[in-house]
Symmetry: C2
């Protein structure tokens, strides 16, 4: 009895997820050979099929893990901010910053949707959207944001714009300059949500 059973199982699951995450994030889902990255974890496809059913199931597990990390990072930034509106804007820009990382971009915004379909339908990967939608709701109640629009819908649209924003920065040969252009355009779009006659925060 060297180790408790449950720990070994959790360990192999974690090793598989980590190996798959690295492979998916670098060479991509389609090019990632199950034989290869299971071997890099010291295992075989047998373990993979046992724990995750198939390649898609493993991708779902990887996505759930990344989504949890992203939500944690967003909530972390969410801790303190001058105004609620600024808080919301920071949340969005943080989302863009996270989307700049190649692993997140590849898995969450490219291969993920292609393999698993509409991210809105994913079971365990909507924490960030939920958070944004919640803040939008309170902003509406406070009269900062125009009423009459569905918070989750708006969050999804913003999310789509964020994804494009991150792609544009990431693929630029002058990321510093384009980052400024992208962020200003993005914030400009966000201001469309603000109530008109009211004074602008800041």
């Amino acid at each position: 009895m060297h180790k408790p059973r449950k720990e070994m199982i959790a360990e192999t699951r974690a090793k598989l997820i980590a190996a798959a995450r690295h492979a998916f994030g670098t060479i991509g889902y389609a090019e990632a050979s199950m034989d290869d990255f299971t071997a890099s974890a010291g295992l075989t496809r047998g373990a993979l099929y046992h724990h995750f059913g198939d390649k898609k199931g493993l991708l779902q597990a990887v996505i759930a893990e990344i989504d949890g990390e992203m939500a944690a990072r967003v909530n972390e930034v969410a801790a303190r901010a001058p105004t609620r509106w600024q808080h919301f804007v920071d949340e969005c820009t943080t989302y863009i910053e996270m989307a700049l990382e190649p692993e997140i971009q590849r898995i969450m915004f490219r291969d993920g949707p292609a393999v698993l379909g509409d991210p809105a339908q994913w079971p365990n990967a909507n924490a960030c959207i939920a958070s944004m939608a919640g803040h939008l709701t309170t902003l509406q109640e406070e009269g900062v944001v125009v009423s009459g629009l569905d918070p989750e819908t708006a969050s999804r649209l913003i999310n789509g714009a964020s994804s494009q924003a991150a792609q544009r920065i990431a693929n630029s040969n002058d990321p510093e300059a384009t980052s400024k252009k992208v962020v200003t355009a993005f914030k400009q779009l966000l201001e469309g949500l603000l109530k008109r006659p009211g004074p602008q925060p800041n």
Copy 2:
């Protein structure tokens, strides 16, 4: 001499593109067997590799064709509109409507980016974006839209939001109702581009 040579070649190219387009648009790129859909066109993979190099090359050709059609449809709607701003808004909503079609959604917004990478880098598939960016530029010169933002960047962000909008409508079980919610939220975002103190068109 039954037919001129060049016509036969163009015909086989067209048949391959049509067959691939149907397969990619229904079962998706990854699930589409080259043997199957070339056979459905009365050909083999030999013709495919000769004309397009590989499966990716054929996808590029399919995308170029669809992009041309989309640009044509956008320009068609662009013909007459009350104001330039309304014209721009119509252009965007037309884009959403096109993105509602399963074939376009699957090929242009899901499998395409996953296989070929960032759409902004595609060689022959940016006609719609270019059109939108052009209109944004003139709107800026006329003082309708705020200055200081890059037109193409803004177009890309709007494009990303449009894609999400279409997905949300398409996957809804009540497309009629969600369509209203999505379009209102989308237009609200667009109004962020308008100059504040000026009178709103309409």
